[in-house]
C-alpha cells in the first residue's frame, strides 16, 4: 500500500514534467532538452525561497515563472539565433546547471522542518501526511492537465497544435511559427519547473543533480501512457502521460525494492529507464519491418 501510494504521489508530481514534455515533444514537435535544467531550476528556486521564509505556494508560483523564462530562452536560441532545436535545449540545460548552483549557493539545500505545500494541505484538511501528499499531487497534476485540455480546445491552443502539426499550414493561416514555439516552450518549461518545485517540497531538499534524466523519465512516462492507454486525441494524450508517469514511478519503486535480487542497484535505474524508452522507440519500426 505504501508502495502504491508512493507511486501515485510521485507519478503525479513528476507527471507535471511529463505533461510539459508531452507539450514540447508531441504537440509542438520540438525535442526540448532544456527540461533537464528547468526541473532542478524549479526545485532550486522553491527551496531557496522557502528557506528564506517564503510561503510554499508562492515559491511554487515563482518556480514556474523561472521555468517559463528558461523556456523563453531556449525558444529565443532556436528562433532568433537559428540554433538547432536539440542544441538550443542542451545549451540552456548546461547554462542552467551553473545558474541553479548560484540560486542555491550550494549543491544541496535541505528543507527539513520547513513548511511545504503538503504540510499546509494536511493542516487545512486534517488528512494524515501521506494522503495530503496524494491530494496535493492529484490536485495539481489533474488540475494542470484539465487546464491544458481546456486550453487545447480554444483558438489559442488550436494555434499551438496546428503550428506543431504542420508549420506550413499554420503559417498560411496567419500564425508565426516562432511565436507559437516561444509561448509553447514557456508553458512546457513552466510545468516542468513546477514539477521540480513540488518535487523539492515532497523530497524535503533540492539537489543540483536531481534534473539529470528528467527528459528520459518524462518521455518514458509519455510513451508508457501511449502504449498502455492508446489515447485518441491530445486531451487523452495528456491524461495518458499522467497515467504513464504513475505506472513508470510504480515500476521504478518495484525495481528498487526487488531489483536487488536480480543484482540491480539504484545506480542502474537510469540505464534501465533509457532501455525502456529505447525499446518503446524501436518497437514500432521493428514491428513494421516484421510485418512489411
Amino acid at each position: 500500500m505504501a508502495l502504491f501510494l508512493a507511486a501515485v504521489e510521485q507519478g503525479l508530481i513528476w507527471g507535471l514534467a511529463a505533461l510539459g514534455v508531452y507539450l514540447s515533444f508531441r504537440v509542438l514537435n520540438f525535442p526540448d532538452l532544456s527540461v533537464d535544467g528547468t526541473f532542478p531550476l524549479g526545485a532550486a528556486v522553491t527551496a531557496t525561497l522557502i528557506s528564506r521564509g517564503w510561503d510554499p505556494f508562492g515559491a511554487l508560483a515563482l518556480a514556474a515563472a523561472a521555468g517559463m523564462a528558461g523556456g523563453l530562452w531556449t525558444a529565443a536560441l532556436s528562433t532568433r539565433f537559428r540554433i538547432q532545436g536539440l542544441l538550443a535545449g542542451v545549451l540552456t540545460m548546461i547554462m542552467l546547471y551553473s545558474l541553479n548552483l548560484r540560486v542555491m549557493g550550494r549543491p544541496n539545500l535541505p528543507l527539513l522542518g520547513r513548511p511545504s505545500a503538503f504540510r499546509t494541505l494536511s493542516h487545512l484538511t486534517g488528512l494524515p501526511g501521506d494522503w495530503a501528499k496524494v491530494l496535493g499531487a492529484g490536485l495539481l497534476g489533474l488540475g494542470c492537465a484539465a487546464l491544458l485540455i481546456a486550453l487545447f480546445r480554444t483558438e489559442l491552443g488550436l494555434a499551438l497544435r496546428a503550428s506543431g502539426d504542420n508549420p506550413t499550414t499554420a503559417q498560411a493561416y496567419g500564425l508565426s511559427p516562432a511565436a507559437q514555439l516561444t509561448w509553447g516552450l514557456a508553458l512546457s518549461n513552466g510545468l516542468v519547473a513546477l514539477s521540480g518545485g513540488l518535487a523539492a517540497q515532497y523530497l524535503g531538499f533540492a539537489d543540483i543533480g536531481m534534473g539529470i534524466g528528467t527528459i528520459v523519465s518524462s518521455l518514458a512516462a509519455v510513451i508508457i501512457g501511449e502504449i498502455l492507454f492508446r489515447p485518441r486525441g491530445v486531451g487523452w494524450g495528456l491524461l495518458a502521460a499522467l497515467g504513464g508517469s504513475v505506472v513508470y514511478q510504480g515500476a521504478i519503486r518495484v525495481a528498487l525494492r526487488y531489483g536487488s535480487r536480480l543484482g540491480f542497484t539504484a545506480a542502474d535505474m537510469r540505464l534501465l529507464t533509457a532501455l525502456v524508452v529505447l525499446a518503446a522507440l524501436v518497437a514500432p519500426a521493428w514491428r513494421l519491418r516484421k510485418e512489411g
Binding site: T154, E155, L158, A162, A170, A172, G174
Partner: protein, 267 residues
Amino acid sequence: MLTLHGVSKTFRLGKESVRALDGIDLGVGAGEFLTVIGSNGAGKTTLLNVIAGTCWPDSGRIAVAGQDVTAWPAYRRARFIGRVFQDPRQGTAPHLTVAENLALAAQKGPRTLRWALGRARLAFFRRELAVLGMDLEKRLNERAAYLSGGERQALAVLMATFTRPKVLLLDEHTAALDPAHAERVLEITDQLVRAHHITSLMVTHRMDHALRVGSRLVMMHKGRVLLDLGAAAKANLGVEDLVGLFRKVGVVDDELLLTDAKACAAQ
C-alpha cells in the same frame, strides 16, 4: 487588388544561377481570376512564393489592396492572402480534425481564449462543407490525415476561401490528384472563387484547365510574362494554339529541369 512592380528573384545553387523572376510587372484587378502557365522553371511557383511571402524578392515591390507588403513575413500576409499548395498534405494539419482545421482557417487574426469549436461555428462549418458535395459535413471529427487526397484538397480550398481573402493563390493544386478528383477540385475552386469574387492566381500545368477557368491567362517563360490575354482573347483560344505559342518562343518541355519549388526549398 494585387500589384507587382519590377519583381526579380535569382536563385544561386553552387556556381549556377537561375533568374526565376526577371523584373515582373503585373497588376491584377479585384475579382480577376488569373491562370498562369509556363514551362518548368518559368518562375510560376516563385511568383506565388514572393506574393505569399515564403520567398523574398531581390528587388521590386509587392502591394495587396493598395498596401505595400514587400517587407511583411508570410504569416502576416496570410491574414489577407489565402493559399492552396500542390501537395494536399501541406494545406491541412493532419492530426487536427476536419472541424479543427476549419477553425484554424476561420480566425486568421489574433487568437483568443474563445472555444475553437463553438456551436454556431460548427453549424457554419457544416453548411460550408455541404457545398463541396463530398459528405465531409458528416466527418467533422475525423482527422484530416484520414481523408483522401482529393477530399483533403477540397477541404484546403474551402479553408483558403472561406475567410474571403483579398488574394487567393493556387499552386498547381490539382496536379497531385487523380483525374476525377482533379476535375472536382477545379470545379469547386471555380465555383467558390466566382461566388465570392475572390481575386485569384492559379498556376497550372494543364493548358485545358488554364483555358477552361479564369478570366485572364498569363504565360510565363524564363521569369518573364510572355503573354497576357484577357477574357475575350482567351475564349477564342484552344490548347493547340497555346502549344503553338510555346513552340514559338522555343520551349521544349524538358528543357529546364530545375523547378522553382526545389530552388526555393534549397535556399
